[in-house]
Amino acid sequence: MRKIFYSLFFLAAMAACQDLYDAPPQALLEVKITNVDTLSTRIPKVSVYGVGQDSIWIYQEQTNIFRLPLSVEETTSFVLLLDSIADTLTIKHTNELIFESAESGFYHEHKILDVGHSLNRIDDYEVTDSMVTKNWHENIELYILSLPAGDN
């Protein structure tokens, strides 16, 4: 029993000596989706991938709020599939390198300069806050059209 206790104490002491580091925070653009038809409460099924990227960022998620990673280029473009209807969302933005700490490292914050989109499902947009920071909050509200009759 005593040996087990000493072994556990030794392991705990070893674990205490190990340095643990956190990953740096990430500033993500938060998008809120609102139906133009104010009577509709339908939440769309969302898929998102970056233009030119192989991997999908969000896959078939039923939500009206989602977050997107911006690149460190001046413009970042996404393909949004809202209930399988594709739209392109293009964000023009600035990038600022931020030093979080020596324990976690660096990350980028962004400021939205302009937003462009195709007009398939997205009807309009509003930039609610142009600053994309590590404290995630709503940045863009997208107004979407209701699905054509028969697609519901």
Binding site: D19, Q53, P69, E73, S101, A102
Partner: protein, 233 residues
């Protein structure tokens, strides 16, 4: 309310009453008004090389100290050393190093019974300053659009701080001492940068903190030369 007023009045009466007055100004005079350590004491801080055990990253250094009993129970002190901190993980490779110096004094609180009694319990103050540099050797930011890596050049900086010290030095055998101290460090001035901020101050500790605690454990040797020419009983 009346009870409160009455209590307050009684307290006031007790404070101002001449019968209750105590002579707080009179302190018993020290009986050890003599120099007990004639030579110069040189110390090596053993704890500086073990700091990685209670600090994040690989922090180590060397520190030497010099003190002398200038007047009975008062020891002017100079401490000088260098420190290095390196942090290496998936997202950052950081290194900081530099030299530092502190000077000040220790005052012995322990009343000695005879001149051979060299043990001291002391409080002291220090003024410290450093010259240091830091470098981001590499950083990595994981991103959906592709990982971003970069590096930053060497940056030179300096800082100043005050220290409050409490410690002991005990003579373990003739002219050899061991002792520990606890220190409170108050930052007074710091050259800083926008990118990245100074993270580590050699001799002081984490730069983002206005106040730091530290402990040290040292060995000392009293160089046996009597520069005063005084005789020991």
């Amino acid at each position: 309310m009346k009870i409160l007023s009455f209590t307050f009045f009684l307290c006031l009466l007790a404070i101002t009453s001449p019968g209750q007055e105590r002579d707080l100004k009179k302190k018993p005079e020290r009986t050890d008004k003599f120099i007990r350590m004639d030579g110069l004491r040189v110390g090596l801080d053993l704890s500086r090389s073990l700091q990685h055990l209670w600090n994040k990253g690989n922090r180590y250094g060397t520190e030497l100290s010099f003190d002398i009993e200038l007047i009975p129970n008062l020891y002017p002190v100079i401490e000088t050393g260098w420190e290095r901190l390196s942090i290496d993980h998936d997202y950052l490779e950081y290194a900081s190093s530099g030299s530092y110096t502190r000077f000040g004094f220790d005052y012995n609180l322990l009343v000695a019974e005879h001149k051979k009694d060299m043990d001291i319990v002391y409080v002291g103050m220090r003024y410290g300053f450093n010259f240091a540099n830091q470098q981001i050797k590499q950083y990595t930011i994981n991103n959906y659009w592709g990982d971003i890596t970069g590096r930053m050049g060497r940056q030179n900086y300096n800082a100043q701080w005050a220290e409050f010290v409490l410690g002991i030095k005990g003579e373990i055998f003739s002219n050899f001492f061991m002792g520990w101290s606890v220190r409170g460090k108050l930052k007074m001035d710091q050259k800083d940068f926008d990118m990245p901020h100074v993270y580590f101050n050699p001799g002081y500790g984490p730069a983002e903190k206005k106040f730091n605690f530290d402990i040290s454990y040292s060995i000392f040797y009293n160089l046996p030369f009597n520069f005063r020419g005084s005789k020991k009983e």
